[in-house]
C-alpha cells in the first residue's frame, strides 16, 4: 500500500450559467425583519416575574411577596364591602410607610412585667391621695405578678422584638385562660405610648403597639362571637344583631367594659376602649357612635399633642374598620379637635423636650405628618365638596399661627385639581410667611408635584406662579431644601413653559449653587434627582442640550465620583427618551461627547466589571447614534476622536471598528479610494489594542473583508496576515460572563469564513511564492499546537483542501465586482496549479496521519467520519483518472468499511445522506468509472456503486 498519494484536483467543466427569469421583489423569506418589541407597560408585575421564574419549581422570593400581596387583596375576609374607599388597605400601606420612615438609632426603654430580663424597678405611678398606702398596695401587687421591669438601652430592633414577644405573650395568655393577664399586658403596652423620650421613633412605636391592641381586641371579639354564635364564621362585625346575642355573652362583654372603664390612667383607658370598641356590637349598635363621639372629646384630656394626635389616629382607624364610610364624619371631628389644639404643638415645654432630644423643628413637625395625613385622608373621602373644604381649611390656616404643618399636610392630602385652583393663594401665603416657615420646602415641593399633574390645556397663570415661586425659592437658606423644591417645579416649568424660561431657571440655579458657598458635591444626590426629573419631563430631550445653562449646571459637581454618576444618569435617560435613531446636532454631540468622556475617565483598574460594561454600553449607544450625514470625512474624524477618548474600553473599540467598517462600506459608491483606505488603516490600527484574541481575529477578518470589498488589496492582505499570526494565540477557553466557554466552535466558524474569503483575494504578485496568504496559513497550521485528533484541526484541514480544489478551477464560483481574483490573475497557470496541488497533497497526507492516530486512539467514530469525509472529497474534487487518487479513494473506502461494523447504525443513515448530497456527482463519477462496468450498473443505488468502485480497484490492481 503506497503511503504517498499525489493529489490532482479535478478540473470542472465550465458550468453554464442558466438565465432564469428573474424579477425584483421587496419581501422574501430570508429578509431580516426588524421587529421592535416594546414591553407593554400594562402587563402586571407578576406576569413579568413569572416569565423569568416559570422554569423553577420553587417560586422565587420576590414573586412570592408579590403573590402574598395579591392574595391579601383578594382575601374575602379582609375586604369588607365598603362603598368608596378601602380603609384597611389604605391603613396597611400607611402603616408600612410609617415603619420605614420613622426609625432611630437612640436607645429605647420598655416597661413591662411580662418580659424576661431587665432590671427590677418599681415604677411609682402618678397618684395623689394617700399615696403611701397606694404605693404599698402596689408593692404587694407586684409580689403577685412578678415585678414591673424596666429594660433600658434597647436598640430599635431589640425593641421591636420585645414588642412582638408581648404580642405572642398576649395570645399565649389568652389561650391559657389567663384573660386578665392579657388585659394587663394590653394596658402596659398602651402605657408605653405615653413615653415620648425617643420622639422620632414614636410613630413607629405607635404602629407596633396598636398592632398588639388590635390583637387583643380581636381576641376578645372572637371569644364573644364564639360565645354568642359558636363557630359560625359567617358572622362578622357588620351583621351581628345584638338582639340575637345571648344574655351570658352580653354579660361577659359588659364585664370587659367595666374592667376597661376602671383603668385609672387616661391614656391606657382610652386605648383599651378603642381596642374594645367593636365589642359594643354585642350590647347595642347604638352605643358605638356616641362612644366614638365621647372618646373624641375625651382625648382633649391628653396634654401632649403628639400622644393626642396618634390617639385620634387610632380612634379613626378603629372607627373606619367598624363603620366604613360612616366613620368619615369622625375623621372630620377629630381633625377639627386637632386644629383647636394646634397651638399645643408649639408650646415651649414641647420645644424644650424636642430640643433636649436634639431634634430640629422640622423633624419634630414631621412626626405629626402621617397622623394628620390619616385624619385628612378620611375627611376628604366624605362627600363634601373638596374645594369648599380646602377653602375652609386655608382660611383656618390664615387664622392660626405656625400654620406650616397644617398647610403642608393640606397640600399633600388634597387632590391635584383642587390644589391647582388654589395654588396662587397658597403660594402667596407661603410667600408672606416665608421668613419664619419651617416646613416651607415640603409645602412647596408638594405644591409643585400637584402642579406637575396640571392639565396643559387649562389656563393657569404659569408664569406668575413660577415667578413667585422663584422669589421664595431663591431666598431659601438650606441648599438641600432648595433642590428638593426645585425638582417638581422644574418639571412644571419644563412641561408648561418654553425652553427659554427653563433656561433662565437653570441659570438661576447655577447662581444659587455658586452663591451658597458649598461645593455642589455635598448635594450630589439631590442634584441628581433634579437633573433626572428634568430629563424625564422635558418634552424634547435634545432641547435640553441646546440650553446654554445645562452643561454648566452639570459641571457644578466637582468630584469625579458624583460626576460619573451624573453623566451616567443623564446619558441613560437621554438614550431611553431619545426618539430618533440618529443625533445630528453638533452641540448635542459635543455635549454628549463631554459626558461620555467623564464616564470613560472614571474607569480605572479597580472599576467593577459590570460598571465598565454599563459605561461601554452607553458610549456605544452614543457612537452608534452620531451621524454627520454625507460628510463622511467628518464622521471618520469623529471616530478617530472617539478612539483617542475611549481607549480604555474594549467594547467601545469594537463598536468603533464596526462603525468604521460600515462607514467604509458606505463610502464605496461616493468617494475615491482615499477614505476607504483611511478606514481600513483605522481598523488595522485599532484592532491590536483589544485584549481578547478571538475578537481580534474576528475583527481582522471583518476589516479585511471590507477592505477587499473596497478593492484595497494591500490593507486586506495586511489584515489577513495579522489574523493568521493570531491563530496560534487563540486560547481554548475564554471567560464569558464569569464562565469558561470553549472557543472551538467560534474558531471553526471564523476560519471557514476566512478560507472562503481567501478564494476572492488576489495573490500578492510581488512575493516570490504563489498563493501567498494561503501558504502562510497552511504553514501556520503545520506548526500549530492543536491536538491532531481534535475535530477543529482536521475539519480546518478538510476545508483548506476544499479551498485548494476550488482555487484550481478556471472560473471561481463567485467574484467581487472590481476585484481581480486569482482565476483571472493567473488564468489557471500550471505553475500556480501545481503549487496548489502540492499543498493539497501535503494536507491529504496530514489527514491520513490524523486518520492513523485516530485509529491508534480507538476513536472509531471520528475515524469513520473523517475517512468518509476525505473519501468524498477525493471522489468529488479529485481527478480519479489519476491512479493515486483512485487508490486513495479505494483505501479510504475500505477503511470506512472496516470501521463500519462498530458503526452499524450510522451506516444505515449514510447512504441516504450520500444520495442527497452527491446525486449529480455520482452520476458523473459512474459515467467515468463505468467504462469498465456494465451500463446497467449506472442506475443502481449508490451503495452498489460504491461496491463497484472496490471491484474496479481490485481489477485495476490486477492489471
Amino acid at each position: 500500500m503506497p503511503v504517498y498519494y499525489e493529489w490532482t484536483s479535478l478540473k470542472k467543466s465550465k458550468r453554464f450559467k442558466q438565465d432564469s427569469p428573474s424579477f425584483a421583489v421587496t419581501s422574501y423569506p430570508l429578509k431580516t425583519n426588524v421587529i421592535t418589541i416594546k414591553e407593554p407597560s400594562s402587563s402586571s408585575l407578576i406576569d413579568h416575574l413569572n416569565k423569568w421564574s416559570s422554569g423553577f419549581e420553587e417560586v422565587d422570593p420576590l414573586l412570592r411577596f408579590e403573590q402574598m400581596n395579591a392574595e391579601e387583596d383578594l382575601n374575602p375576609l379582609e375586604t369588607e364591602v365598603i362603598e368608596g374607599v378601602n380603609y384597611t388597605k389604605a391603613w396597611n400601606s400607611r402603616r408600612a410607610g410609617i415603619l420605614n420612615k420613622y426609625t432611630t438609632g437612640e436607645k429605647l426603654t420598655i416597661v413591662s412585667s411580662y418580659l424576661p430580663g431587665g432590671e427590677k424597678t418599681l415604677i411609682r405611678q402618678v397618684s395623689n391621695l394617700n399615696e403611701k398606702v397606694k404605693h404599698r398596695l402596689e408593692q404587694l401587687d407586684d409580689f403577685d405578678e412578678g415585678s414591673v421591669r424596666k429594660t433600658m438601652g434597647l436598640s430599635q430592633q431589640e425593641f421591636v422584638t420585645k414588642i412582638n414577644l408581648l404580642n405572642d405573650e398576649i395570645k399565649k395568655a389568652w389561650e391559657t385562660e389567663q384573660r386578665v393577664k392579657a388585659f394587663k399586658i394590653g394596658i402596659q403596652c398602651s402605657k408605653l405610648l405615653s413615653d415620648i423620650n425617643v420622639m422620632q421613633f414614636y410613630p413607629s412605636k405607635f404602629i407596633l403597639i396598636t398592632d398588639i391592641l388590635d390583637t387583643f381586641g380581636n381576641l376578645v371579639f372572637n371569644r364573644l362571637k364564639e360565645k354568642s354564635f359558636g363557630n359560625n364564621n359567617l358572622m362578622t362585625i357588620h351583621n351581628i344583631d345584638p338582639r340575637t346575642v345571648p344574655e351570658s355573652a352580653k354579660e361577659t362583654c359588659q364585664n370587659w367594659m367595666y374592667k376597661m372603664a376602671s383603668i385609672r390612667e387616661l391614656l391606657p383607658r382610652l386605648y383599651m376602649e378603642m381596642a374594645l370598641l367593636k365589642c359594643y356590637v354585642f350590647i347595642s349598635r347604638d352605643e358605638i357612635k356616641p362612644a366614638i363621639k365621647r372618646l373624641t372629646t375625651m382625648i382633649r384630656g391628653i396634654g401632649n399633642p403628639l400622644v393626642a394626635i396618634y390617639l385620634r389616629v387610632y380612634l379613626c382607624h378603629t372607627a373606619s374598620k367598624l363603620l366604613g364610610k360612616d366613620s368619615e364624619g369622625y375623621f372630620y371631628e377629630n381633625l377639627k379637635e386637632f386644629i383647636e389644639e394646634y397651638q399645643q404643638i408649639f408650646l415651649t415645654s414641647m420645644r424644650k423636650k424636642y430640643e433636649t432630644q436634639l431634634l430640629t423643628q422640622d423633624k419634630y413637625l414631621n412626626l405629626f405628618v402621617p397622623a394628620l395625613d390619616w385624619l385628612l385622608f378620611g375627611t376628604l373621602n366624605s362627600n363634601k365638596c373638596k374645594s369648599d373644604l380646602l377653602h375652609e381649611f386655608i382660611q383656618k390656616c390664615e387664622e392660626i399661627e405656625n400654620n406650616e404643618l397644617f398647610l403642608c399636610c393640606l397640600v399633600s392630602a388634597f387632590d391635584s385639581p383642587t390644589i391647582i385652583k388654589k395654588a396662587p393663594k397658597i403660594l402667596e401665603m407661603v410667600h408672606s410667611y416665608a421668613d419664619k416657615m419651617v416646613m416651607m420646602n415640603e409645602v412647596l415641593a408638594s405644591l409643585g408635584e400637584h402642579l406637575c399633574k396640571a392639565d396643559t390645556h387649562r389656563q393657569i397663570a404659569t408664569e406668575s406662579l413660577i415667578q413667585t415661586w422663584w422669589k421664595i425659592a431663591s431666598n431659601m437658606k438650606s441648599t438641600n431644601n432648595f433642590l428638593q423644591v426645585l425638582e417638581p417645579w422644574l418639571q412644571f416649568a419644563c412641561t408648561h413653559l418654553s425652553t427659554q424660561h427653563v433656561n433662565v431657571i437653570l441659570r438661576g440655579t447655577i447662581r444659587y449653587m455658586i452663591k451658597c458657598g458649598k461645593p455642589a458635591d455635598e448635594f450630589s444626590g439631590n442634584f441628581q434627582f433634579v437633573i433626572k426629573r428634568m430629563l424625564k419631563s422635558i418634552p424634547d430631550v435634545e432641547e435640553l442640550f441646546l440650553m446654554d445653562a445645562f452643561m454648566p449646571l452639570l459641571e457644578l459637581v466637582q468630584t469625579s465620583n458624583a460626576r460619573t454618576m451624573l453623566a451616567k444618569t443623564v446619558l441613560s435617560i437621554f438614550f431611553s427618551r431619545y426618539n430618533s435613531v440618529q443625533i445630528e446636532d453638533h452641540i448635542v454631540i459635543s455635549s454628549l461627547m463631554r459626558l461620555c468622556c467623564i464616564l470613560h475617565d472614571s474607569i480605572n483598574a479597580v472599576t467593577v466589571e459590570d460598571e465598565s460594561k454599563i459605561c461601554g454600553e452607553l458610549i456605544n449607544k452614543f457612537i452608534q447614534a452620531v451621524t454627520y450625514q454625507d460628510d463622511l470625512e467628518r464622521q471618520l474624524n469623529f471616530y478617530v476622536e472617539c478612539r483617542s477618548s475611549f481607549i480604555k474600553l474594549d467594547t467601545v473599540l469594537i463598536t468603533l471598528v464596526h462603525a468604521v467598517n460600515t462607514l467604509a462600506a458606505r463610502a464605496k459608491s461616493t468617494r475615491g479610494k482615499w477614505l476607504q483606505r483611511a478606514c481600513a488603516a483605522y481598523c488595522f490600527v485599532t484592532v491590536p489594542s483589544l485584549h481578547c484574541t478571538l475578537t481580534k481575529t474576528q475583527l481582522y477578518l471583518l476589516s479585511g473583508q471590507v477592505a477587499l470589498l473596497n478593492n484595497c488589496i494591500g490593507q486586506a492582505e495586511a489584515n489577513f496576515k495579522a489574523l493568521i499570526g493570531l491563530i496560534p494565540d487563540i486560547p481554548d477557553y475564554i471567560l464569558e460572563d464569569g464562565q469558561k466557554k470553549p472557543t472551538h466552535v467560534k474558531v471553526a466558524g471564523i476560519l471557514s469564513d476566512f478560507l472562503s474569503t481567501l478564494l476572492l483575494l488576489p495573490d500578492n504578485v510581488d512575493s516570490n511564492c504563489k498563493a501567498y496568504i494561503l501558504t502562510g496559513f497552511i504553514k501556520t497550521m503545520e506548526r500549530i499546537h492543536w491536538k491532531k485528533t481534535e475535530p477543529l484541526y482536521y475539519n480546518t484541514l478538510l476545508r483548506t483542501l476544499d479551498l485548494l480544489c476550488e482555487m484550481t478551477q478556471d472560473t471561481y464560483i463567485h467574484h467581487l465586482e472590481s476585484v481581480l481574483s486569482n482565476d483571472q490573475l493567473y488564468g489557471s497557470d500550471p505553475e500556480f496549479i501545481s503549487v496548489l496541488d502540492r499543498h493539497a497533497t501535503n494536507i491529504c497526507q496530514e489527514l491520513l496521519v490524523v486518520l492513523k492516530m485516530l485509529g491508534d486512539n480507538r476513536e472509531t467514530k471520528k475515524q469513520y467520519n473523517l475517512s468518509l469525509e476525505l473519501f468524498w472529497r477525493v471522489v468529488r474534487r479529485g481527478e480519479l483518472n489519476e491512479r493515486p487518487m483512485l487508490s486513495l479513494a479505494a483505501n479510504l473506502w475500505m477503511l470506512s468499511q472496516k470501521t463500519q461494523d462498530s458503526q452499524q447504525q450510522t451506516w444505515e443513515i449514510n447512504p441516504r445522506f450520500i444520495e442527497k448530497r452527491n446525486k449529480p456527482q455520482h452520476t458523473r463519477f459512474t459515467s467515468k468509472a463505468g467504462r469498465r462496468v456494465k451500463k446497467s450498473l449506472i442506475i443502481l443505488r449508490p451503495q452498489l456503486v460504491l461496491f463497484k468502485i472496490c471491484s474496479i480497484y481490485k481489477v485495476s490492481r490486477l492489471l
Binding site: 402618678v126 395623689n128 367595666y258 385609672r264 365621647r294 372629646t297 382633649r300 384630656g301 391628653i302 396634654g303
Partner: protein, 286 residues
C-alpha cells in the same frame, strides 16, 4: 329569707376597745319562711320544687326600721340578703341545708330633676375655703357638673332552680351599663404646667348609735381625665363609669348613712394639689 344590716364602728373614730365591744346589733330587714313541701317522700331523681316568696318590707314598723334596702357591701356597712333552704329528715339523719345570697335592687324610679353645679377654682376660692398657706401659682379652673343627682340602674331578674339533694339556688343578675352624668372641666388659665387632672369617687359611710357615731370616707374609684399639660380654655369631659360593686343609692337611716362625694383634683407639675369636693346623690333611676 333573711335580710339584715351589719354595722361596724371604725377604729379611727372610736377607740379600739370600743370598736370591739360596741358591736352594734344587726338591723333585721326581713325574715320570712315558708314550707315548700309537706312532710313526705321525695322520689329518686331530680325534683324541681317551684316556689315563690314575696319580697316585702315588714308591716309592723319599729322605730328606726329603714324598710328594704339595696344589697350593699361596704367596709363598715353591709346589707345582705340570703335564701336558706332547710330540709329536715327522718330520725338519725342530719338536716340538709343550703343557702344562697341574692341581690336586691330598687325598681327604677323616675329620673330626678337635674341639679347642675358650677364652680370655679382659683387661688382666691381656695384661700376663702381656708386652705392655702403656701404661695400658690396663678390658675383658674372651671368645673361643671350637669347634675349632682346621678342614677344607677339595674333591673333584677332571678331564676331559682332547686336540685334535691343538695339544694342549689342560682341567681343571676345583669346590669345595663349606666353612664354617669356629663361633667366638664375647663382650665382657663394656669401659670404652671399641669401634670394630671383626676376624678375621685369617695364613699362616706356613717355609723351612728346612742354611744356615738363614726364617719369614714373610702376612695372607691379614681380615674384620670387629663394627662399632661392640657390645652387651655378647652372643655374636657369628666366621665366615669360607676363601679357596680361599690356603689348603691345614697341611703340615710337613723342608724347609718351611705353617701357619695366627687373630688376633682388638679395636680400641678410641682406636686401641688388642688381639689374641689362635690357631694352627689345616687339614685336608682332611669
Amino acid at each position: 329569707m333573711e335580710g339584715s344590716v351589719n354595722l361596724q364602728l371604725s377604729s379611727k373614730n372610736v377607740g379600739i376597745f370600743e370598736a370591739f365591744s360596741n358591736s352594734i346589733k344587726p338591723i333585721n330587714l326581713i325574715n320570712t319562711s315558708i314550707e315548700l313541701v309537706p312532710p313526705g317522700k321525695i322520689p329518686v331523681g331530680v325534683t324541681e320544687i317551684p316556689f315563690e316568696l314575696p319580697l316585702r318590707a315588714r308591716q309592723a314598723v319599729s322605730p328606726g326600721y329603714p324598710g328594704l334596702l339595696e344589697t350593699y357591701h361596704g367596709v363598715f356597712v353591709n346589707i345582705m340578703y340570703t335564701l336558706k333552704c332547710n330540709m329536715k329528715r327522718s330520725f338519725l339523719n342530719k338536716p340538709v341545708n343550703a343557702s344562697c345570697q341574692f341581690f336586691v335592687q330598687y325598681r327604677q324610679q323616675e329620673a330626678a330633676p337635674l341639679k347642675p353645679v358650677r364652680c370655679e377654682i382659683t387661688p382666691a376660692s381656695i384661700r376663702a375655703a381656708g386652705g392655702g398657706t403656701r404661695p400658690m401659682p396663678h390658675f383658674q379652673v372651671y368645673a361643671e357638673i350637669n347634675s349632682t343627682v346621678c342614677a344607677l340602674d339595674s333591673p333584677l331578674t332571678g331564676k331559682v332552680t332547686s336540685l334535691p339533694p343538695p339544694v342549689c339556688l342560682v341567681l343571676q343578675h345583669s346590669v345595663v351599663i349606666q353612664w354617669s352624668p356629663a361633667l366638664q372641666i375647663r382650665v382657663d388659665e394656669c401659670s404652671v404646667p399641669i401634670r394630671s387632672i383626676e376624678l375621685q369617687l369617695v364613699r362616706v359611710e356613717t355609723c351612728g348609735c346612742a354611744e356615738g357615731y363614726s364617719k369614714d370616707a373610702t376612695e372607691i374609684q379614681n380615674i384620670q381625665i387629663g394627662e399632661g399639660d392640657v390645652c387651655r380654655a378647652r372643655d374636657i369631659p369628666l366621665y366615669m363609669v360607676l363601679p357596680r360593686l361599690f356603689t348603691c343609692p345614697t341611703t340615710t337611716t337613723p342608724h347609718f348613712k351611705i353617701e357619695f362625694e366627687l373630688n376633682i383634683a388638679v395636680i400641678f407639675d410641682d406636686d401641688y394639689l388642688v381639689t374641689e369636693n362635690f357631694p352627689i346623690l345616687l339614685l336608682r333611676s332611669k
